[in-house]
Homo-oligomer: 318 residues x 2
Amino acid sequence: MPTAAGDPSEEGRLIAEIETLWEGRSNSGLILAGGDDCAIVQPPADGVELLLATDQIVEGRHFVPDKHPPSALGRKALARSLSDIAAMGGRPLYFLQALCLPQWATGDWHRAFQRGMRELASNAGLAGLALAGGDISGGDSFVASLTVVGCVEQGTAMRRSGARPGDRVYLSGSVGGSAMGLELLLGEAASDLDHPAIRRHCEPLPQLELGRALRSLPASAAIDLSDGLATDANRLAAASGAAILLDSSSVPLFAGARIENAVRSGEEYELLFTLPPGSDPPQGFATTEVGRVDFGTGVWLDTGLGRSRLGPEGFSHF
Amino acid sequence: MPTAAGDPSEEGRLIAEIETLWEGRSNSGLILAGGDDCAIVQPPADGVELLLATDQIVEGRHFVPDKHPPSALGRKALARSLSDIAAMGGRPLYFLQALCLPQWATGDWHRAFQRGMRELASNAGLAGLALAGGDISGGDSFVASLTVVGCVEQGTAMRRSGARPGDRVYLSGSVGGSAMGLELLLGEAASDLDHPAIRRHCEPLPQLELGRALRSLPASAAIDLSDGLATDANRLAAASGAAILLDSSSVPLFAGARIENAVRSGEEYELLFTLPPGSDPPQGFATTEVGRVDFGTGVWLDTGLGRSRLGPEGFSHF
């Protein structure tokens, strides 16, 4: 029985809308979703571990209400959380959404936001992902917090900490498109939502299948590019206690992007991963060798004219 | 290795603070917490189901920054989520926190907020609850979204929907104190934080042990009073497809509270539950019989002078 039954409040109406929209996405392990204090789910089979991740989309930080279409935001919100599961090679099972909605984010806007999430969840790689619950509140500023529960075979989750000197470094897809799309979207002129860079920014795809393929190789380490190559490569290097040397000319750039912007481009949701010697990247995915792991610390970029340190915030000098 | 390692940003500093504060609260099933894209947890033993719940504390809706002490808010935020686990008779295992923090909510304020949560978690009934991850963002307005993962023996979770005509209705503790405390706290005068009603509002205790005792009876239905007796009794009645008749003079009131305010007093985190005929409430807990379940719909209050309908928003006429 839906939570919304007999609840005439604004919150009740919004919950009823969400429940209708997400009906029919079943997961055989979901025993009770909505309508009670908690969702009840069956734990996965023996020999499987659970993955937990939570992420936010915050008004004014991750988006600008007048510029970002609500469906794109819904997509971004869910992609952001699923990308964490992808980075560890897991399979997403359930998600919960906590929404703080100003008045402008209700009604049509809210329906479009939910539809964006729903569209992403319709992706073939996401069969079995089900909405397990949530919380809705009014508020002065929009915040969506999504929590995802996933699973992975015991002891096989990829971590950031496994890169070793001698490993090669790879990147999926290309980088730079999301920052370029964001700049176009926030610009003075009305945006062409079909522009490739804007689509790149608004329609991210978490690399779940690649993540699972990397886990079975196995890759030695992986991280998703949520905050940009510079920041996330530094996280992987720090967690692994090693240095990462990137070859500037090898980094695959989105059409029209420049390397100095591309390394700071967040919300790419590509995977940066390392492979031990003798291991090749999985077939059927767009991946590029971009460097190697070495002794030392930090991330270094070889520009052909010398080596520059790439800090978490991007280049200090370029 | 902590996420914060090598991360000099404000976010990195806050995460390092949180990790230090929550260190030492272990849960044997927590394989990896923080420092990677997801937390990794061992699923509970065979024959155990998982409970999932998410709840928010929103600035201006659930609290007023100038009035509510930050430690009280931390406590409220965690109590709110744990109370959902209590209502189903479960045991909390892990929680994740997504925090949207304006500048004023960093530094000392944020440390006190975390300490409030940590104090609640130190409660004897919460051994084993561990922080499994989170997300921090800046923002214009404070929002804390907490997600709790709990567990319960297969098929035994109490639901809102199990009340049947003939069952008796019980309430734990008393109601009305939280609303009274909130009114005092928001009043013109500086608040005496030791006032019993203010302490009641600021130091809620989720009824986890009572919840587990009720589950083993078993109780036929249960719900926690997060939004007030009027709202939550209507939710239980609607989910069960039955009417609830409350005896006004039996409802246990916090010292000084009046029934018409007490039924609208949210954030009480007491349990409203129903027992089948022949079943008595568990020993060792403060519980009061407050009415019975009947055929029909809605919630009705017998005032001694007649019967009034108690809508989700409280009394339309009193």
